[in-house]
């Protein structure tokens, strides 16, 4: 028997690796170990006051700090029965789109493209293809600026608070964002040109279940409160408060993250799932781009998540422009946040983070202090599906060469864009 071990998917020693056991041509155990920092945070939240919670959870991750903040605020507002204003919803969606633009630009241009073109890193790619890397950096910077403008800070937003916003952006700031977004909109052909020119990555075909927030209207991924699960012929709806029937977590011996299955089936969350569940916006420019990328839905290739991210990047830019136009047309009111009256109870919120469904559920006591907290990240939700796709990829790989298998599994793992250990950040010397 031979064992293939792919380490260093994460920067935490001994976590985030893939292990494949092979007995001749037969695939034995396939294990994916995820280090789940978010879960470790739950005990830390115990006893914290409702207005301390979002600032703490925003630090789970630098890349997803806006999504964690907004999910946290929504869960607290659900617990206290607070309804925020339509302007707050719009500004929060803009913040989330900024995070998505930043995250997708980083992932597509600085991580996925080097992978497809067989470069060891974005720096190596930049030596040969500086235009691609600079385009990625420009889009990432725009996403940063959006978050800084709306969130009040580039990392870990401070403006969004329970019930609304501490400070709203000025018209001048929105006009500045609009000009950046118009430039990005003009760049969208270049994004698709680059993606369409990448070599095909077809390592595993497998019927896949997809789960995403179902939008109550065509435009928003932020404001839904039910999840739709789609497979080849079936659709099921799970209301936010029933999220445990979706997540159905089971501890597995080899991983720090519990595995989630829906009615026994692993499911995928993220960009590809969102487009599968909410295809209504895939018209006009996006339909043309989708055709150029040869993407059909529902997809049976997890690598298509990279294409879906590129489509979302374009959609995020267009939708952000629409929001800003609306805000400029209607004017930004200097609203106070809705007053928070703490009460004992439980609140649940689900938001689409860049990598997929993010769930926060808090139980508060009558003074508004956390009794218990449940934080489920997209990477944890994807773990079982990733493992299934790794297995299929090994089974479908015509070669038994370790390097070939390792490269394929690494690329599939990265296509999921996992947030394995955002919490840790160490430099390693040669």
């Amino acid at each position: 028997m031979s064992t293939i071990v792919i380490e260093h998917l994460a920067r935490v020693e001994g976590h985030g690796g893939i292990t494949v056991e092979l007995q001749g041509d037969t695939v034995g155990d396939v294990r994916f170990d995820v280090f789940e920092g978010a879960r470790l945070l739950e005990p830390l939240l115990k006893g914290k006051r409702y207005d301390e919670v979002a600032p703490i959870v925003s630090r789970i991750c630098s890349i997803c700090s806006a999504a964690h903040t907004l999910t946290s605020l929504k869960a607290t507002e659900d617990a206290f029965g607070i309804r925020v204003s339509p302007q707050t919803d719009l500004l929060r969606e803009l913040l989330l789109r900024g995070e998505s633009i930043e995250s997708h630009a980083l992932h597509i241009f600085l991580l996925a493209v080097p992978d497809y073109l067989n470069y060891p890193s974005a720096i190596a790619l930049a030596a040969d293809k500086p235009a691609a890397v600079l385009l990625g950096l420009r889009l990432k910077k725009l996403g940063n600026l959006m978050q800084e403008t709306i969130g009040g800070r580039a990392v870990h937003p401070v403006n969004p608070v329970v019930g609304g916003f501490g400070k709203t952006p000025s018209l001048d700031q929105l006009i500045e964002l609009r000009s950046g977004l118009m430039q990005a909109s003009a760049d969208s052909d270049a994004v698709i040109d680059l993606m369409a020119a990448l070599p095909a990555a077809d390592f595993c075909r497998s019927e896949t279940y997809y789960a995403a927030l179902r939008s109550p209207n065509v435009d928003s991924y932020y404001s839904g409160d039910e999840v739709m699960v789609v497979s080849a012929g079936n659709r099921a709806i799970v209301p936010a408060a029933d999220y445990r029937s979706l997540t159905n977590e089971k501890a597995v011996a080899h991983s720090h993250a519990k595995h989630s299955t829906f009615r026994g089936n692993p499911f995928m969350v993220g960009s590809l799932a969102r487009l599968t569940v909410n295809p209504r916006r895939l018209t006009g420019k996006l339909a043309v781009a989708m055709k150029r990328l040869k993407l059909t839905l529902p997809a049976d290739n997890p690598m298509d998540n990279n294409k879906a991210q590129a489509l979302e990047l374009i959609n995020d830019v267009e939708r952000s422009l629409e929001i800003i136009e609306q805000l400029l047309r209607e004017g930004v009111k200097d609203e106070r946040a809705m007053p928070a009256k703490p009460r004992a109870g439980t609140g649940t919120a689900i938001v689409e983070a860049p990598r997929g469904l993010l769930i926060h559920c808090y139980t508060y006591d009558e003074e508004g202090r956390i009794v218990s907290a449940d934080v489920i990240t997209p990477t944890a939700l994807n773990a079982a599906s990733m493992e299934q796709h790794f297995r299929r990829a090994v089974e479908q790989c015509p070669e038994r060469d370790e390097a070939v298998i390792a490269r394929r599994l690494g690329m599939i793992a990265r296509a999921y864009d996992p947030c394995i250990s955002c919490s840790v950040h160490l430099v390693r010397k040669r």
């Binding site: 920067r11 935490v12 630090r59 890349i63 950040h425």
Partner: protein
């Protein structure tokens, strides 16, 4: 915008991984910090700080480093000395981010690594590293002279 910035990286929720973050916090309140220098708590992604870097003359990045030195040892990590391998599935290391930023802006970067031996979910630094804080601050301030 001040011409020089010290950007401390790390996650304060992950014990000693947060050393850069804590260094920036302490420096910001330190009367010895020269006038033309701003201390910034940068989180875990240096690229996110791009807008706060652009336009400065010099940026010193302080980050945790895993090597064989005693915890709290501060060493300058030269260009090419950190691993270039893309080992994180999801974002770039400080060294890689610095490489990309060098391409886009004429800023002089220095990477100071503070050796750590552990990074686990904890809201504070280990006693060992906290005890070394005065010496770490001295070393960073020396870099600013």
């Amino acid at each position: 915008m001040k011409p020089v910035a010290v950007i401390g990286l790390g996650n304060p929720l992950m014990g000693d991984d947060g050393i850069g973050w804590h260094v920036a916090e302490r420096l910001a309140a330190d009367p010895r910090l020269p006038d033309g220098v701003e201390a910034i708590q940068g989180g875990t992604d240096l690229l996110r700080c791009a807008a706060r870097i652009e336009g400065r003359r010099r940026v010193i990045v302080v980050d945790a480093v895993r090597d064989d030195a005693a915890p709290g040892t501060v060493s300058e990590i030269g260009e090419g000395e950190a691993e270039e391998r893309q080992e994180h599935a999801h974002h770039l290391s400080a060294a890689q981010a610095m490489g990309l930023l060098r391409m886009t802006m004429p800023v002089s970067f220095t990477l100071l690594g503070v050796s750590v031996s552990q990074a686990r979910m904890e809201e504070r630094l280990s006693a060992e590293l906290a005890g070394r804080m005065p010496a770490i601050l001295d070393r960073v301030l020396e870099e600013l002279r």
